[in-house]
């Protein structure tokens, strides 16, 4: 495992290291491997991946397309089984979707038949919370993501960025211990990305929400994270762990700083080889198919 400057290695995962280094792991991913049988061959999507997410930490997992990031997201969220290894939340092994993990998806996931407020109130309604209480709580989270005044609107009346904020508010509303996000800004334009990223950053800093972000966007990872895990191209392994030592609390001004540029350059050096390998394999596949 290599680690570029500026960086610091994570402690090894053998035994309970968290007490030794003085922090508590909210989430532990231990030796997770996932293979897919595609008929003719077995593809290893994720290979022996291990890492911890500390309580209150914002951790990003970054890697080229096809490195198994989304597979990892689904495994941690409990939506994908049939893997070896273990995922632990609060010290306990989990086998499926878990109440302590809230997921925000890459695709548009708001319910088009529900208003903004009813979308955000959905998990509370599902948990049996009374109408008045859940609407009150939902209104708080709608306001938190900056959509106050849009409570009665329907998703079809909102922009993509606003809809994604509804999805984030819906996930935050049921108070998960860990917020798990899979490229939540992938479908948005660059400017909206930065602004929405800043919004997420402000919320995370205010709530100290433990957050795991899956992304392929280097700037986004640096802007938001305390640490960034770099994954290799297929099979997905942890290549490097990069500490982002930009000061907190951060604002969107951070993206214009020299330190931000240094981190982006460092991460790109790590990613370049993997991204090139992914591109070369894709081109080989296309030319092979054409031939």
């Amino acid at each position: 495992m290599t680690s570029p400057e500026p960086s610091a290695p994570v402690p090894p995962l053998s035994g309970d290291t968290s007490a030794v280094v003085g922090w508590t792991a909210a989430l532990r991913v231990m030796n997770v491997t996932k293979r897919f049988h595609t008929g003719r061959e077995i593809v290893t999507a994720v290979d022996d991946v291990s890492f911890d997410v500390r309580e209150g930490e914002f951790l990003s997992v970054i890697g080229p397309s096809g490195c198994g990031k989304s597979t990892l997201f689904k495994i941690i969220g409990g939506l994908l089984g049939g893997f070896s290894g273990e995922v632990r939340v609060g010290g306990r092994s989990i086998q499926g979707p878990h109440r302590d993990i809230g997921m925000v998806f890459q695709e548009e996931s708001t319910f088009p038949w529900r208003s903004v407020l009813d979308n955000v109130a959905f998990p509370l309604e599902a948990s049996g919370m009374g109408r008045a209480e859940r609407l009150d709580r939902a209104a708080h989270f709608v306001s938190l993501v900056g959509l106050k005044g849009f409570e009665r609107r329907f998703p079809s009346e909102l922009s993509g960025g606003m809809r994604q904020r509804v999805a984030i508010a819906r996930t935050l509303a049921f108070n998960p211990k860990i917020l798990l996000m899979d490229e939540p800004f992938a479908a948005l334009d660059e400017q909206t990305r930065y602004l929405l990223g800043d919004k997420v950053l402000q919320i995370q800093q205010a709530t100290k929400q433990t957050t795991l972000l899956i992304t392929h966007n280097i700037g986004e990872a640096v802007q938001l994270s305390d640490r960034v895990l770099v994954m290799t191209y297929r099979p997905g392994r942890i290549k490097a762990v990069v500490e982002v030592d930009l000061p907190r609390p951060r604002s969107d001004d951070v993206i214009t700083s020299d330190a931000f540029a240094r981190h982006v350059a460092g991460l790109w050096r790590n990613l370049k080889e993997e991204a090139s390998r992914g591109l070369a394999e894709s081109e080989a596949l296309v030319s092979g198919g054409a031939g």
Binding site: G77, L79, P97, W113, F122, A126, K148, F150, R170, T192
Partner: protein
């Protein structure tokens, strides 16, 4: 501009509070009827081929107030309501089952599609033997005719639900039955209801056809009687009442869809 709008884009569009479409539709029908009236009054179209709409209107009012038009209309409406309930319940159940069980779907979906293109009214002798010359026979033929589009569109509706919406429910650790009723069902409803409305149309055609064929019950029987006597205004008035029944049921189904979607 609000913080939200500033932050990530403008609000696309407000939902229209008033749509002129229904009024335009009514105006078009009235305009066409007025044109037809003018063509007949000026002698360009013979009143023995098509009676003037004003005469049809008066005949319709007379049928409803003094004749057995209201009774016939209610009989047809009741038969259609019975068929609609059965088409809805059976069609939703069968469609859901075929969607859920892939083996069943692969085996039977093609057959259901073939049935949708078959004039099922021709199986009426079977139902006559089963239920006799009664409303039950008429309803049964209506149900058989209305089911195929309802079943097919139910399958299509569920198949079209975006997987990420189901993942939202799964991520919340909801039980499958809760995911079905809270997410998959409302997400599939627009397509299911388009199938239901198609089924309603098929059912009404077959119900009125059966009433005509076995000379029993509602508006179909009345059309039969007046057509036999060449009472053209009354015949057309009964046909117009069939259109009214259809329009009322379609409007009611749209209202039900909105209620179910919440």
């Amino acid at each position: 501009m609000s913080d939200a709008a500033t932050l990530s884009g403008r609000v696309r569009s407000r939902r229209p509070r008033f749509s002129p479409a229904p009024l335009l539709g009514v105006a078009t029908v009235l305009g066409l009827l007025a044109a037809l009236e003018a063509l007949i009054r000026t002698g360009l179209v013979s009143p023995f081929v098509v009676p003037p709409p004003s005469t049809v209107l008066l005949a319709g009012i007379d049928l409803l107030w003094h004749g057995n038009g209201l009774e016939a209309l209610l009989a047809t409406a009741f038969e259609l309501l019975s068929a609609a309930v059965l088409v809805g319940l059976i069609g939703l159940s069968v469609g859901t089952l075929l969607y859920r069980v892939t083996a069943l779907r692969r085996t039977y979906e093609g057959w259901v599609a073939a049935l949708a293109a078959t004039p099922l009214v021709l199986v009426y002798p079977f139902f006559l033997v089963m239920f006799g010359r009664s409303a039950a026979t008429i309803v049964a033929v209506g149900v058989v005719a209305g089911l195929p589009p309802m079943v097919l569109r139910t399958i299509e509706g569920f198949a079209g639900v975006r997987p990420v919406l189901v993942d939202v429910g799964r991520a919340l650790n909801l039980r499958p039955v809760r995911v079905f009723w809270s997410i998959e069902f409302p997400a599939a409803l627009p397509v299911i209801f388009s199938g239901f409305r198609l089924g309603l149309g098929f059912a009404l055609i077959n119900i009125v056809g059966m009433e005509f064929l076995i000379n029993y019950g509602g508006l179909g029987q009345l059309i039969n009687e007046h057509a036999e006597l060449y009472d053209l205004p009354e015949t057309y008035a009964c046909i117009a009442l069939v259109v009214v029944v259809s329009a009322v049921f379609v409007a009611a189904s749209e209202h039900l869809e909105r209620r179910l979607r919440g």
